[in-house]
């Protein structure tokens, strides 16, 4: 994955930059020693690393505004960072950039139950938002797998989803307002504790803009009362096609589960060997979870099971209590770890129309033979968001490149059947150069002109999202000035 050549001019001015940053920040908020900047050299796409010029860890919105004013004036690129859990390289620095981390801004600013919102600083982790309200029976719905570590800032940047978004939606559906700092250092408040902010939907635009339009420092989030209970059912099939058809029938029948998770046979085998969750070694496995009171859960599960039986499942296991529910979820939750035991892996994130599931899985297995790398699938079937895990050996020369080429073919396949490159992880650097598969140049131009409005000099996370060749003129214009 290519990154732009760092600006020598910016590198030369590091002492001046550090001095100016120290004039607006306390000593402990500026990290400029090479030994320490290394801690910020990558995110969860760890195949790519590059220590930044410096990292700053501000504590207030005003400090962020001051930092951005300095960087804008000195034409230094800024890479925003939440908790560094991006799987697409969203927080990968370049050597001439400043990492702006919001980790120290993690306070709860306001909790309001009657109006069902919480206002937090954006460095707060996803799970700790729920943590702040669950004792009172509330939760924050978007639940990306990394929720223990990932920050709300990153969730907003990537418009993160999770296993339960089939019912509750993704980040943008649960975000009511933000405090936001532009590259010029302007502090802007958009939306608030009311629905559908006025004017053009800038909130919707900022959510999912991958930290390219500005830094979100505070967020007002929708919180919801916790359901009375939830239980999953596990259903095994001897064909991917049948499992896919079963999902479509359940959705059509009017049952809206909170989650429909799908595992294919390579993943089931790996998971069984690793976690021993007692899964049947079949071709395809569904875990379907429903919510409500005991009686409501029974009613929904009965409908789901009736539909599933029509598709001749090889296994059907209903959780009767929390213990059994945990056993069913155990395998799903250890799936990534299990695949990681086998080898290094790359996790993809394309979305397809649910109806194309059998074809896509079949084609993926053919590609697996062609490229000589194994692939396992564990994903959110209800909304067609695939997570193919390609296994490769990082120590074997050329294997990463083969893996990336294989990954690119899978994502092209997703687009070909009417889907998209990324459902919840974001484009970052990982899918940047595939954007032309999904978009015409004119579509990318329309998106890039949005960035021109917010960040005319292309300093905020500049080498992400758009193919480097498409954004080159804009980025070079700014570095020529720097």
């Amino acid at each position: 994955m290519e990154m732009p050549t760092p600006s020598q001019n910016v590198l030369n001015r590091k002492p001046e930059l550090v001095k100016r940053l120290l004039s607006v920040l306390p000593r402990d908020a500026v990290i400029d020693h090479e030994a320490e900047t290394k801690a910020y050299e990558c995110d969860a796409l760890s195949a790519y690393r590059c220590p930044p010029l410096a990292a700053v860890l501000p504590r207030t919105t005003e400090e962020i505004s001051a930092i951005l004013k300095i960087c804008n004036e000195m034409q230094v690129p800024v890479v925003p960072r939440g908790s560094g859990t991006s799987l697409s390289g969203g927080a990968l620095p370049t050597a001439d950039s400043v990492i702006l981390g919001v980790a120290r801004m993690n306070a709860v600013l306001e909790t309001n139950y009657p109006d069902r919102y919480i206002k937090v600083q954006s460095g707060r982790t996803n799970l700790s938002v729920t943590g702040a309200v669950e004792v009172d029976g509330f939760f924050y719905a978007p639940d990306p797998s990394s929720q223990l570590a990932c920050a709300i800032a990153g969730n907003i940047a990537m418009n993160s989803g999770g296993a339960h978004c089939l019912k509750y939606g993704v980040t943008s559906n649960n975000l009511l307002g933000v405090k936001f700092v532009t590259m010029q250092g302007d502090i802007i408040e958009i939306g608030g504790p009311y629905l559908d902010a006025e004017g053009l939907d800038l909130l919707g635009l900022i959510c999912g803009s991958e930290g390219q339009l500005g830094i979100v420092t505070e967020a007002t989030l929708r919180i919801l009362p916790k359901p009375e209970g939830a239980l999953p059912v596990l259903i095994g099939f001897d064909k991917n096609e049948t499992a896919g058809a079963c999902v479509a029938d359940i959705v059509k029948a009017g049952v809206l589960p909170v989650a429909i998770e799908f595992m294919d046979s390579p993943c089931i085998k790996a998971t069984e060997a690793f976690a021993g969750a007692g899964y049947p070694l079949c071709e395809a496995l569904l875990i379907i979870e429903v919510e409500g009171s005991k009686a409501e859960i029974d009613e929904q599960l009965e409908k789901i099971i009736t539909i599933a039986r029509k598709h001749d499942p090889v296994e059907l296991r209903e959780a009767k209590d929390e213990d059994e529910a945990n056993r069913i979820w155990l395998g799903r939750k250890s799936a990534f770890g299990a695949m990681g035991q086998l080898n290094d892996y790359m996790c993809l994130d394309g979305t397809i129309p649910v109806t194309q599931l059998p074809y896509v899985l079949r084609r993926m297995n053919e590609l697996s033979e062609e490229f000589g790398l194994k692939v396992g699938n564990v994903f959110h079937a209800g909304d067609g968001n695939l997570h193919p895990l390609i296994l490769y050996d990082a120590n074997k020369p050329g294997d990463l490149q083969t893996c990336e080429a294989f990954g690119a073919e899978i994502l092209k396949l997703c687009v070909e059947v009417g889907g998209c490159l990324t459902g919840e992880h974001g484009v970052g650097i990982e899918k940047r150069d595939l954007m032309h598969v999904q978009f015409e140049p004119v579509d990318l131009e329309a998106q890039m002109q949005i960035k021109d409005v917010f960040d005319p000099n292309w300093l905020m996370n500049p080498a992400k999202v758009f193919p480097l060749s498409s954004s080159a003129d804009r980025r070079n214009a700014s570095s020529a000035m720097g």
Binding site: N112, D186, L200, A248, V251, A253, I352
Partner: protein
């Protein structure tokens, strides 16, 4: 005054390329978005459902497709537009047939918005022609998509100021097996909003919560499978006991009640200005009394206020200290702006975005400023 009636997306592009003056963009013309005068472009000729996948809960349609055609295709499969778009014809005294493109361009959402989200939350993809005649697309037809910037949300609710939407892909949901509404009589505004927010704070999955002072009634709707609705309706009655006994109406009675609330049928006179306010629910009663609406209705557990004021009045000064925003839905344009004026920085950003998509200022000129 010309009315252009394109039949294809490329017709739209050609009309925009060739125009040298402003164009009003009209779907069904039922929402009173465009004020009269000047040339218009009508999207009715761009009609038809392109793809419908009930098993994937997605539909793709041309923007000018009549809403009733969409709703009838969905109901045949037991599905619906979950965000419950209002029919504004009676309120605005309009005739004509609303289009699906208009629903999304104006982000029209009804009572269920509070449970499932707004129109913009269900819009998955758009094709549109910008003010320079470029044919553009954003999003797609799948439920989860974070590929590139979310221009889909930007276009939804932009009232045609950034482009003429030619095609929309959206998510739908199953129609609930049944519904029931709890009705509590005789609550004052403050107690009513308190009852509504208390209901929304319960785990019983309320799908709409409104209060009609004119009828002295407070309404709470639940939807789902038969047994579940029965169970939750009993639970909610107990949960709300301190607000008084609730009577329960079911199915068709409940449905017709909510279609009236959705379409805001509380305003008896045809001359007042009608305002729509989005606010923090618990602040709503105080906002209403500060502004002094002579007739009004609370939806979204208080978060949405529909209110009537004499012509030319401005509710925004009174609203300012509470937060939220106000849009005039009915009434002549005068010195009071129809859309909520924005803070300087946001207005500048919005204006710059608009000038990127419509550098010549030909699309719905004068709207949303």
């Amino acid at each position: 005054m010309n009315i252009f009636k394109p039949k294809t997306e490329s017709d739209v592009a050609q009309i925009i390329c060739e125009t040298n003056q402003g164009l009003n963009i009209i779907g069904g013309g039922t929402r009173g978005v465009v004020e009269s005068g000047g040339n218009s472009i009508e999207t009715k000729g761009l009609s038809g459902i392109i793809d419908y996948q009930p098993g994937a809960l997605t539909m793709i349609a041309q923007a000018g497709t009549p809403l009733k055609e969409i709703e009838s295709a969905l109901s045949k499969e037991g599905q619906r537009l979950p965000f419950e778009p209002m029919n504004s014809r009676a309120l605005l005294g309009r005739v004509g047939s609303p289009t699906i493109g208009g629903v999304f361009a104006a982000n029209i959402s009804g009572p269920r918005r509070i449970q499932v989200g707004a129109a913009r939350d269900f819009l998955l993809g758009v094709r549109f022609v910008d003010g320079s005649g470029n044919i553009l697309k954003s999003g797609g037809s799948v439920m989860k998509n974070v590929t590139g910037y979310d221009l889909v949300k930007l276009l939804s609710g932009s009232y045609g100021t950034l482009g003429v939407i030619t095609q929309v892909a959206f998510k739908v949901l199953p129609i609930a097996e049944t519904q029931a509404t709890l009705i509590v009589d005789g609550l004052d505004d403050k107690n009513a909003v308190n009852a509504l927010t208390t209901a929304m704070n319960s785990p019983f999955d309320v799908s709409a919560a409104a209060h009609a002072p004119s009828k002295n009634q407070t309404y709470i709707r639940i939807e789902g499978f038969d047994k579940s609705v029965l169970y939750r309706s009993e639970k909610l009655q107990a949960h709300l006991k301190k607000f008084g006994e609730a009577q329960v109406v079911e199915k068709s009675q409940s449905e017709s009640l909510w279609s009236k609330i959705r379409d805001v049928d509380v305003f008896s006179d045809k001359t007042s200005d009608i305002w729509r306010l989005s606010v923090k629910p618990t602040a709503a009663p105080e906002i209403v009394s500060s502004i002094g609406f002579h007739q009004y209705l609370y939806d979204w557990s208080g978060g949405l206020i529909w209110g009537a004021l004499p012509q030319g009045s401005d509710p925004r000064l009174a609203l300012a200290k509470f937060g939220g925003h106000a849009t005039r839905i009915r009434g002549k344009s005068g010195s009071v702006p129809r859309f909520q004026p924005q803070t300087k920085l946001i207005a500048e950003l919005s204006e710059k975005i608009r000038s990127k998509f419509d550098p010549r200022g030909v699309l719905n000129t004068g709207l949303m400023v």
